[in-house]
């Protein structure tokens, strides 16, 4: 989304068309979090299905509340070079009108931005599924959304240091994709590998959930990127179109890579390709041409593909490859903007190829800052939480599955052998 502060405009006027689009875009992004839960749930073993899904559902609870009370203010109150301010704590100071430079109700802006923070926190769960305790993960997401997400969002969209130096990040290469990817990296290290990792085959229990989840995520991504124009119109259309073109190209590239490697175009691979392509176009969607998006999609397949094939041979159990898909995809996208941003399409700014060399430098700086900060902060945060409570379930509970141990439920029950316990006491 464009830096709000750089757009001088009259406050208050609300456009019904812009508002209509932003309402829908917000709903679409909010739908992505359950879709992510479904996608992730399909990729784990059946005994951890509900737990995995619940990590995403949990984000809709705790991160929403954290955003309303604190996060929004940190990200969007004022123009501090590091973080925003505290005037909008509890959404104080937000009336029913529009923010300066926007034509949608300010509350809608709050919710649109909330939806980004929610799914970003949920994404990190991919690194720690099948072993991390549910309670500590909720605590982690709550704090992470305030201390990692909100400051990074401020950097690119709230008038922070990076934005002032012209870093372009259409819909979240910095706070969403790289932040979740490198936080996932840290989380996988702190929490440690699953006990069976590298010894047994830990396979996706339901490929349909993965494919449907990826399909719904793509659907939501049209709101994610298209909505980052913060208005209906040309910017929304360009970023929307690119959100179709880039993942389509990634999908084609991934199928080709799969065929080259093992003569089989895998379905889990296709689902992954959709995510990788959508991630890569996220920072670039409103800045590059449609053919540029096709090229970015093709290109983005390569690093993520290689990393995904290589990673399971290491000892890093970053279980659902958030780093490969979101971390690397985000880096590719942000750097691509530095090269191929085309003012003729966006009306906003050029990359190296169209004459602005400094942009690439600052895009690279944004990559470095984000990766280091997200990794470091997440590392420390999880270590600190780990001082107060165990991050992982016991070995026995891990064997039994987290659905039973964390939630007291099974995803798929037949009811046989389930004896009703009649309780005489009240609720």
């Amino acid at each position: 989304m464009a830096d709000l502060l750089s757009t001088a405009a009259l406050a208050g006027r609300i456009d019904t068309g812009d508002t209509a689009w932003m309402l829908v875009a917000t709903a679409l992004v909010l739908m992505m979090t359950p879709a992510l839960g479904l996608f992730y749930a399909g990729l784990v073993r059946s005994k951890n299905t509900l737990n995995t899904f619940m990590m995403s559902i949990g984000a809709l609870g705790v991160v929403t509340v954290a955003w309303v009370l604190v996060g929004y203010s940190i990200a969007f109150d004022g123009h501090g070079s590091i973080v925003g301010g505290l005037h909008n704590l509890f959404l104080r100071g937000l009336g029913p009108g529009a923010l300066p430079g926007l034509t949608i109700p300010s509350l809608l802006f709050v919710v649109f931005e909330a939806s980004f923070c929610i799914i970003t926190a949920a994404l990190i769960s991919g690194a720690v599924v099948e072993r991390m305790r549910f309670g500590p993960f909720l605590v982690f997401m709550t704090i992470w959304s305030i201390v990692v997400y909100a400051p990074l969002a401020h950097q690119v969209w709230g008038g922070g240091f990076l934005a002032r130096h012209g870093v372009l990040d259409w819909a979240g290469g910095v706070p969403v994709e790289m932040a979740s990817g490198f936080s996932a990296f840290a989380a996988a290290i702190v929490v440690g590998a699953r006990k069976d990792y590298g010894r047994q085959a830990l396979l996706p229990h339901n490929g349909v959930y993965a494919l449907l989840g990826a399909g719904l995520l793509w659907f939501g991504w049209f709101g994610f990127n298209g909505g980052s124009a913060l208005a209906s119109g040309r910017g929304a259309a360009l970023s929307f179109a690119n959100t179709l073109f880039a993942p389509a190209a990634t999908l084609v590239a991934w199928i080709v890579l799969d065929l080259l490697r093992a003569r089989k175009a895998t379905a889990i691979g296709a689902a992954t390709a959709i995510i990788v392509g959508a991630v890569a176009i996220t920072p670039a969607a409103g800045y590059v041409s449609p053919l540029g998006a096709l090229g970015l999609g093709l290109l983005a397949a390569i690093p993520s593909y290689i990393f995904i094939v290589w990673r399971p041979r290491t000892r890093l159990d970053e279980s659902l490859d958030v780093l490969a898909a979101h971390g690397l995809g985000g880096v590719t996208g942000i750097l691509f903007v530095g090269l191929f941003a085309a003012k003729s399409w966006s009306g906003i700014g050029n990359g190296l190829l169209y004459g602005d060399a400094s942009r690439l430098v600052w895009q690279a700086i944004a990559v470095a800052v984000t990766c280091v900060y997200a990794f470091g902060a997440t590392f420390v945060l999880l270590r600190v939480i780990g001082l107060f409570t165990a991050l992982r379930v016991s070995e026995r509970d891990e064997g039994l599955g987290l659905d039973v141990s964390q939630h007291g439920e099974e995803a798929y029950t037949t009811g046989e052998g389930a004896i009703l316990v009649r309780l005489s006491d009240g609720a």
């Binding site: 396979l203 093992a262 889990i268 995904i308 041979r313």
Partner: protein, 116 residues
């Protein structure tokens, strides 16, 4: 009384059912199992994880028959299940001490004679 247990290919299960029907075998139970034998393993890949799938889907029949019915039953199963390729499966015949029909309490041979 014998218990004939047969492990066959799932795609032949219907043929086995039909062959048993023609051989006048009426009672049977069936379940899905996974088997390992002389078949070649399949390789599958899930993202970066490559696995060798050692087990193949099979269907397990369990048929209790009176002694003189054992041979026809085996013949029928063979007829229905055979393709000639490795992986066609096995038949095991076990001895049964006693059979009880739950509905009536009838025992042994009567118990497996269907009420038609």
């Amino acid at each position: 009384m014998k218990l004939v247990v047969a492990i066959v290919r799932p795609e032949r299960a219907n043929d086995v059912l039909e062959a048993l029907y023609r051989a006048d075998v009426r009672g049977l139970s069936m379940s899905r199992v996974q088997g390992h034998g002389g078949e070649t393993d399949r390789v599958e890949t899930y993202r970066g994880t490559t696995v060798k799938m050692e087990l193949a889907e099979k269907v397990r029949f369990e048929v209790a028959v009176s002694d003189h019915f054992v041979e026809p039953t085996i013949k029928a199963i063979q007829a229905g299940a055979r393709t000639g390729d490795v992986g066609d499966g096995k038949i095991f015949v076990l001895d049964i001490d006693k059979v009880v029909r739950i509905r009536t309490g009838e025992e042994d041979t009567e118990a497996v004679t269907p009420v038609v």
